[in-house]
């Protein structure tokens, strides 16, 4: 019967397709190979004691710290703990959202300034107010922040929770900068 012959061939093809897909499916997990997953680094990392900071000062730290200078020196692990002139604590990613140079803190002007193309960020919320970074559309015009915790002894800890994406920006209209500082 030609009719059932055709349907039998269709069934054979369908079974072969299912089998091939079943073989391929587990292999799609291999894509994880391309993404480096952080291991062995504790998310909670002590940065400094609050007594080491005075208004209008900053401390650089690398997070997550591994002890390997080659990795710890990577720009994407560079952070800056800032105490603004009016005493607010902020932990910003140092990677400029324009072209990934490393800005510095200029306390006299209450600003963070990028050395490469002159992007200027406000020190109390990390939003770009001048230079090329300020031209970029929301939310790619603000420095990412690290959520920090300050305990009763005054020790400041990086929690590993990043508000934003390093080198790319932060949704600064969604979350207030003060929410990224917790007293514990």
């Amino acid at each position: 019967m030609p009719e059932s012959g055709a349907s039998r061939r269709r069934a054979l093809r369908a079974m072969l397709t299912v089998a091939v897909l079943a073989v391929i499916a587990p292999f799609t997990n291999l894509v994880r190979f391309f993404y480096r997953e952080e291991t062995g680094s504790s998310p909670r990392q002590r940065i400094a004691n609050i007594s080491e900071l005075k208004p209008g000062s900053s401390i650089f730290f690398s997070y997550p710290k591994t002890g390997d200078p080659k990795i710890d020196g990577d720009p994407f692990r560079q952070w800056m703990l800032v105490m603004t002139n009016d005493g607010k604590l902020r932990a910003y990613s140092r990677v400029c959202v324009h072209l990934w140079c490393l800005p510095i803190y200029v306390p006299d002007r209450s600003e963070l300034m990028c050395p490469c193309h002159g992007s200027i960020y406000r020190d109390d919320d990390g939003v770009a107010i001048a230079g090329p970074a300020a031209f970029q559309p929301y939310p790619t015009n603000a420095l990412p922040m690290m959520v920090i915790e300050v305990d009763e002894k005054g020790d400041i800890y990086a929690t590993g929770v990043v508000d934003g994406r390093i080198g790319l920006g932060r949704e600064w209209r969604v979350r207030r900068p003060d929410d990224n500082v917790r007293r514990v």
């Binding site: 994407f76 072209l99 193309h117 002159g118």
Partner: protein, 444 residues
């Protein structure tokens, strides 16, 4: 079993060659038809072969550079400096590799435009054409990953722009970019290295297997001449190492010349992905689809004014955007103002250039002209030919001697210039040689 006897050594060699060629007929080599021209022919027709030869030079010089280069974020720059300054002949190897990359990009662009204007993407050549465009894009990516391996300030600018563009791509960007970045620059440098020395060249070789036509012209004088030109240019404009990458210091840098056009787009301050990736992509898309849009039977560009004008407009735009990308207004105070490109002027200039190209093409270029008189070949008398061979041979020896002398005196760039001159003269000598062997050929 008696061994075949040959009267002369030449007979034995000829027999060996014949034996080998007959056996090669069982291999894919038999599919190729190699032509070794007996006289000068225009190099426009075999620019692709020249590009492939330069690709070969890059493969050899690059493989040798791997002996000393360290793809490590803390050693990359110093290892390149070691190659350039301390490794014997390292200067020459690096300069050859660098300048051959420029030649390859340039030859590929010339190859593209010659094939474009002569309508070669027709006549069943669509697959050759499309693979050629993809090869061209891969060539630029290969050059891009290559000059980033030095990890100097210029490399960091290119890496940061490239990764920023990838990140800002809609939907896929944040997924794809970490594949290139890994955990940071210490991963990125290894991944770019793998891409540069293996993955992209492998893709190019695979595509080349489809792209290469079966009839190939191997013109030794021109090939030797192009190799010489690489050395001469390298000797005259040796590539610098630059300054080691330091993200805490600012420097005005301009990327390599084949990327300054994209750099100019980015400097207009408009949205990054839109200006830096989508607009240049329109170029690639235009060339990819042109064989499927231009369905006329005409080949010559004079008979296809619209596509001739489009081609000319694209050349003008490449030149203008490339030059604009190099332009830095140092009279401005801040780096940002020095690099800023006024978008209204920039983008409106594209419209003007396109209109002007169409006007010039339709008004002046495509007008039918009388048939050009066939070029009269220059024929040297056997005596003059012999003299030309002798003179070029003498000059080859002189420049070869000067190359050795200047290298011994620690002037590697001047030595490279002399090496290049002797190669170019060898190319000329080969041409005189074949010409004179033709004019003095025994009548049969």
């Amino acid at each position: 079993m008696s061994a075949p006897r040959y009267k002369t050594f030449k007979e034995a060699v000829d027999a060996l060659i014949k034996w080998t060629v007959e056996r090669l007929e069982r291999t894919p080599f038999a599919a190729f038809k190699f032509t070794f021209p007996k006289q000068y022919i225009s190099p426009y027709g075999y620019l692709g072969t020249l590009t492939a030869i330069v690709f070969l030079v890059l493969g050899v010089s690059g493989a040798i550079l791997m002996f000393y280069y360290s793809p490590s974020v803390d050693l990359a720059f110093s290892s390149v400096r070691e190659i350039q300054d301390s490794v014997p002949f390292g200067f020459v190897m690096r300069q050859v590799h660098y300048h051959a990359s420029n030649f390859m990009v340039l030859l590929a662009v010339f190859h593209l435009y010659y094939q474009y204007f002569s309508g070669r993407y027709k006549i069943k050549n669509e697959v050759l054409w499309v693979t050629g465009i993809i090869l061209g894009i891969l060539t630029v990516l290969e050059a891009y990953t290559g000059y980033n391996l030095i990890l100097n300030q210029r490399a960091m600018l290119a890496i940061n722009i490239g990764m920023g563009l990838t990140f800002s791509a809609p939907v896929l960007g944040p997924t794809v970019a970490p594949i290139l970045m890994g955990g940071g620059y210490f991963d990125l440098i290894v991944r770019f290295y793998a891409l540069h020395v293996f993955i992209i060249p492998l893709l190019m070789l695979l595509l080349l297997a489809v792209h290469v036509p079966r009839a190939l012209i191997i013109d030794m004088p021109m090939i030797v001449g192009v190799l010489g030109a690489i050395f001469v240019v390298a000797g005259m404009f040796p590539a610098e190492i630059g300054i080691r990458f330091d993200p805490s210091k600012g420097l005005v840098e301009v990327p390599e010349w084949y990327l300054t056009s994209i750099y100019a787009f980015l400097r207009t301050g408009s949205e990054r992905f839109w200006s830096g990736a989508l607009l240049p992509l329109l170029f690639a898309i235009f060339f990819l689809i042109v064989p499927f849009v231009d369905k006329s039977k005409k080949l010559s560009w004079r008979d296809r004014p619209f596509f001739a004008a489009m081609g000319i407009a694209s050349i003008v735009m490449i030149i203008v955007t490339t030059v604009w990308g190099f332009y830095v207004d140092f009279s401005q105070r801040t780096v940002f103002d020095q690099l800023y490109v006024e978008p209204v002027i920039y983008y409106s200039s594209f419209g003007i250039m396109t209109l002007a190209s169409f006007f010039v093409t339709y008004r002046y270029l495509v007008k039918p002209r009388g048939k050009p008189a066939p070029a009269k070949p220059v024929v040297l008398t056997p005596g003059a030919g012999l003299a030309a061979v002798a003179v070029t041979m003498a000059l080859v020896i002189v420049f070869g001697y000067l190359a050795v002398l200047t290298y011994a005196q620690n002037m590697p760039n001047i030595s490279m210039f002399h090496m290049g001159m002797s190669l170019i003269l060898l190319g000329m000598m080969l041409h005189f040689y074949r010409h004179t062997s033709q004019t003095t050929a025994k009548p049969r």
